[in-house]
């Protein structure tokens, strides 16, 4: 088993306004919102950190148990996701505290901007995860399973404790776990990515999700 925890820092991925608007609950263009969104993007540009720490783990799935050697979790959905994989990348990613500060600031001053920064944060962390996974795909020269995080399907949030114990993200990327098992900074992701299977990643990630009544569901 590879025991090395590695870190990567990314340059700012391009902003996708359409995706941000989707997170903000807009299904179409509205000029006054676009103007405000541009203002928000200008304010947040170059202010965020894009950091990931990760390590390679081996995986054996037995029934609903996913055994990563250093810890194991019970999740039927994750077991299905990782079926046939021998290795996974476990990673933690964050865009840092500044986005939380902006959300907090405008929460007091302008709820519209708070909503937009919230949406920007969601888009940013997804963009970071995409950039990281694209890297891994290239480095390992392999297909990837869709990334799978605690809270997806039947994978409990308590798996965060295991993940934090083996990734040391507090020290590596400044990511901490709250007693509620949510993370601070809030725009952060931890996930398993199965390596070496045939490509299942769809261009429409929503199609993999079972929550069909989700308001954010892409068409």
């Amino acid at each position: 088993m590879n025991s090395v925890i590695l870190s990567k820092t990314y340059i700012e991925p391009p902003f996708c306004e359409k995706e941000i608007l989707r997170y903000a609950g807009c299904r179409g263009e509205r000029e006054e919102i676009s103007v405000l969104l541009k203002e928000c993007i200008d304010e947040v540009k170059d202010k965020l950190a894009y950091k990931v720490c990760y390590r390679e783990l081996s995986i054996k799935t037995v029934g609903v148990t996913c055994d990563f050697e250093v810890f194991s979790v019970h999740s039927e959905k994750l077991a299905r996701n990782l079926k046939g994989c021998e290795k996974v990348i476990l990673f933690a990613a964050t865009v840092g505290v500044e986005i939380d500060r902006l959300i907090g600031k405008y929460g007091r001053l302008s709820p519209t901007k708070a909503l937009l920064f919230q949406a920007i944060g969601a888009e940013r962390i997804e963009a970071l995860c995409d950039a990281f996974c694209a890297d891994i795909k290239k480095e390992y020269n392999t297909g990837l399973e869709p990334r799978f995080s605690p809270g997806y399907g039947d994978l409990p949030l308590s798996a965060q404790k295991n993940i934090f114990a083996v990734l040391d993200p507090e020290r590596r990327i400044g990511l901490t776990l709250n007693s509620s098992l949510l993370m601070s900074p809030s725009k952060s992701v931890t996930a398993f990515v199965g390596l070496g299977n045939t490509e299942k990643t769809s261009s429409n990630k929503c199609s993999l999700c079972e929550k069909t009544d989700c308001t954010l569901r892409g068409v």
Binding site: R30, L36, L109, A114, N178, S184
Partner: protein
């Protein structure tokens, strides 16, 4: 020799990395290294001994994560006891002849402090205090606080060390590639705060290799008047055949660090990836060097959680608007606990260009201790300017200084014995730059001579408390010339003497000079210019005053402080008179809306809605504006949202525009009898949950529709919600929860409300809730969005009369 004495005249060698060595020794992923103090003490002793043998003067105990968040108290004590014993044993076994000290190692708690995370500041102090007490009990020589990536947590740890020991404390932070801490502090800001609190050495460790940390080390050397620490990583970790390998070699490492020792770094070692070999090489390259003496940099400075503000040639502007004196609207905000209004005063002043915010929230009818503490916490959550804590209530001062994330300005002390005895111990303990008023038991001397004499006495007494003159800034008291036409002369002349002869910085509350006169701005602006010429370093002033800002920019341009007059030119545009701006900027009303104001609200033009309302108020009754303009506009948008032709951000933009119109109306009616409201609604995000965007949206809309909303904030315990509902006999309570894990807290709150406030209806909302869930936990209503909350409130409070 004791550590502090040794530090004065020596280069001090710390140890190197321990984690990589433990992994090589078999530490498993996820296993706590601190437990190895007990289970593998031989391995730990060997590592410590190897460092002492390599030349380390300080070995840090293997207690990086030893805190009561990770370990139960009993185990924590056993771990620290064993860790200290291991280090002592290594010291006995080492053959090295030099001085050997044992430092209690304190790393980050692993939690982020509020408001970014969920660990309360005082809880953090308690966590570190436990570790410190055990360290003291088992006999360490000093404390090292290291790898902290957040200034607030660093402050909590240093405070814990100071409050629970008399040991020397050295403090080292983890800076990122941008040269700042993860939460934003610059090296200069950290120096200001940590020196103010009495750290014995300050520095940088971890995260990067020595080359990447060079800039940080140089900035620390430039600013710090205490020894600088450098303890870098051996570069970045790489994976080679499944093993961790760091990319900076022993030689490169010791060369880089040695170069910085020559520049003045005095406490050196290694962090992740370094081994005894690294330390031995560093020792051999530097042990013959003469240590660079530590010089007092004589910097007068305050800091926020991001940056430091130095007092010098360029005038410092201190915004005076967070203060209820003479401001009805502000008083109202304080009485209503309307923190948002106070925050917007802060943000507006920042946009005007002030460097520091004065914070005064004293009012006879409020609990100032609580209010000041809250205001400071709220301000520093969203504004990165240093704060000047302004109160005569000593308990409030202490609470605010304790919670302040940086080195604050303290307003104020004066020449009275009682004042100095109360304030100076706080300055010494928490750090700070204290404003000293030149008055004493006999009042304010009329002459400059008298005021200077008081200043001299203040300096003498401060010195006894160990407070240097660089941390005192004198205010020679501007008093109105309308009462005494020699008042300005005495103020200016004492200012000049204090600056030139005592070598101290000065500050004035400029606006006082014109009290009782017409067109005060003109007098203030001119007095400001005179004061600057006489050596004024900082002014407590109104940044909305065009005359004051003109003087500021013009003075800097004239003094050669503004390259190419760039800032003056930039500011000049904003001083152009804009009488016709509203009329000119407003496009013609679109025919489909009945008025410009309606159009502004519907389109969400916030500033315009406010200005149009202001204009309308001269001819139209406020209630008419509300009923005939704002409410119909809101209804159009609200209906659109329900029909899904208007999106959430649009709904919010309109709500904000309406709010800005309401704000104008509120200000015009301030002090007068209030228009009837529809009833009080209490809202909160439930205990354990820190998400409040949804709750804030609901609040905004409810207020728009004329409800009085008492917002208890986020993470609110059930008891507080119930207590408030009873106190206000609220007909409706709104609860928000975002996480499945906090829905039980919502259920508990509902139960308590049913018991204590049975009349009260409860509406719930939030991402994880559904109608079924809401029914299950006993809510009266599940609202899927903010509009539905408004409709329900109307139904409950107006009995569906709408």
């Amino acid at each position: 020799m004791n550590f502090k004495d040794y530090l004065k005249n020596h280069i001090v060698y710390l140890d190197g990395g321990i984690g990589t060595l433990l992994q090589a020794g078999g530490l498993k992923p996820g296993e706590y290294p601190e437990r190895w103090n007990l289970s593998h003490h031989d391995v730990i002793i060997d590592i410590h001994k190897a460092y002492f043998d390599a030349g380390s003067n300080i070995v840090c105990t293997n207690t990086f994560g030893a805190n009561c968040l990770k370990f139960a108290d009993d185990e924590l004590e056993q771990i620290i006891k064993a860790a200290v014993a291991n280090a002592k044993k290594a010291r006995e076994q080492s053959v090295q002849k030099g001085e050997k000290f044992i430092a209690l190692d304190i790393g980050p708690s692993g939690k982020l402090l509020k408001p970014l995370g969920d660990l309360d500041f005082e809880d953090a102090v308690n966590v570190f205090s436990k570790t410190v007490k055990f360290g003291v009990k088992y006999g360490v020589d000093l404390i090292i606080i290291e790898t902290m990536n957040d200034s607030y947590e660093t402050k909590a740890a240093l405070l814990a060390a100071k409050e629970n020991s008399n040991l020397p404390v050295i403090v080292s932070n983890a800076y990122g590639e941008d040269g700042k801490l993860m939460t934003g502090a610059s090296p200069a800001a950290m120096v200001a705060m940590l020196e103010g609190m009495g750290a014995d050495a300050i520095g940088a460790n971890c995260s990067l290799g020595p080359r990447q940390l060079r800039g940080v080390a140089e900035e620390l050397l430039q600013k710090a008047s205490v020894p600088v620490i450098l303890k870098p990583n051996a570069g970045l970790p790489k994976s080679i055949n499944g093993k961790t390998v760091f990319d900076v070699t022993v030689d490169e490492f010791s060369d880089e660090v040695a170069a910085l020792v020559k520049k003045g770094v005095r406490v050196v070692g290694g962090c992740c990836g370094t081994t005894p070999e690294y330390i031995a090489s560093l020792y051999s390259k530097t042990s013959e060097l003469a240590p660079v003496p530590i010089a007092d940099k004589k910097i007068t400075v305050v800091s926020s959680y991001t940056h430091a503000i130095e007092f010098g040639e360029s005038p410092i502007l201190i915004g005076e608007r967070i203060n209820p004196t003479g401001k009805k609207r502000f008083k109202q905000a304080l009485l209503e606990n309307d923190i948002d209004y106070i925050l917007s005063e802060g943000v507006n002043q920042q946009e005007k260009g002030v460097h520091i915010l004065d914070v005064n929230v004293g009012l006879p009818d409020i609990d100032e201790v609580q209010m000041l503490k809250n205001t400071v916490c709220e301000l520093q959550a969203i504004i990165d300017l240093p704060l000047q804590i302004d109160t005569s209530n000593i308990a409030a001062m202490e609470e605010a200084l304790r919670r302040y994330n940086g080195k604050a300005m303290i307003n104020s002390v004066n020449g009275k014995r009682e004042s100095m005895e109360a304030i100076f111990p706080l300055v010494k303990k928490y750090g700070g730059l204290v404003v000293a008023l030149t008055l004493d038991e006999n009042g304010i001397p009329d002459t400059a001579q008298g005021r200077v004499k008081i200043a001299e006495n203040i300096l003498k007494v401060a010195n006894k408390y160990g407070i240097d003159k660089k941390d005192i800034i004198f205010d020679t008291l501007a008093m109105t010339i309308s009462a005494d036409n020699k008042a300005a002369v005495a103020t200016l002349s004492s200012l000049k003497t204090i600056k030139n002869e005592l070598g101290c910085h000065t500050s004035l509350g400029v606006s006082n000079i014109s009290f009782g006169l017409p067109n005060r701005d003109a007098v203030n602006g001119t007095f400001f210019a005179l004061a600057l010429q006489n050596g004024l370093s900082a002014a407590i002033m109104n940044p909305y005053s065009v005359d004051m800002m003109k003087t500021y920019y013009a003075y800097r341009a004239l003094k050669g402080l503004d390259e190419n007059c760039a800032e003056y030119i930039g500011s000049a545009e904003s001083f152009v008179v804009t009488v016709t701006s509203v009329a000119a900027a407003a496009p013609k009303t679109t025919e489909e809306y009945s008025s410009e104001l309606q159009h502004a609200v519907i389109k969400g033009f916030k500033d315009k809605a406010g200005e149009l309302t202001k204009n309308l108020l001269s001819s139209v009754d406020p209630l008419e504006i509300v009923n005939n303009e704002i409410i119909p506009a809101l209804n159009i948008v609200g209906d659109g949202f329900e029909k899904k032709t208007v999106y959430l951000p649009q709904l919010l933009m309109s709500a904000e525009a309406a709010k800005s119109a309401f704000e104008v109306i509120k200000a015009s009616m301030s002090g007068k009898e209030k228009a009837g409201t529809k009833g009080v609604i209490v809202i909160a995000t439930v205990y354990g949950d820190i998400h409040d965007i949804g709750k804030n949206i609901v609040k905004l809309l409810l207020e728009n529709y004329g409800f009085d909303v008492v917002d208890l904030g986020k993470d609110v315990p059930p008891e507080i919600i119930a207590k408030t509902a009873i106190k206000l006999r609220a007909p409706l309570v709104g609860l928000s929860a975002l996480m499945t894990t906090t829905v039980p807290a919502m259920e508990e709150t509902i139960k308590l409300l049913r018991e204590k406030a049975p009349w009260c209806k409860i509406v719930v909302g939030g991402a994880v809730l559904t109608k079924e869930y809401a029914d299950k936990i006993g809510a009266d209503k599940y609202a899927k969005d903010a509009m539905e909350s408004v409709r329900y409130a109307e139904e409950i409070i107006n009995g569906g009369k709408e």
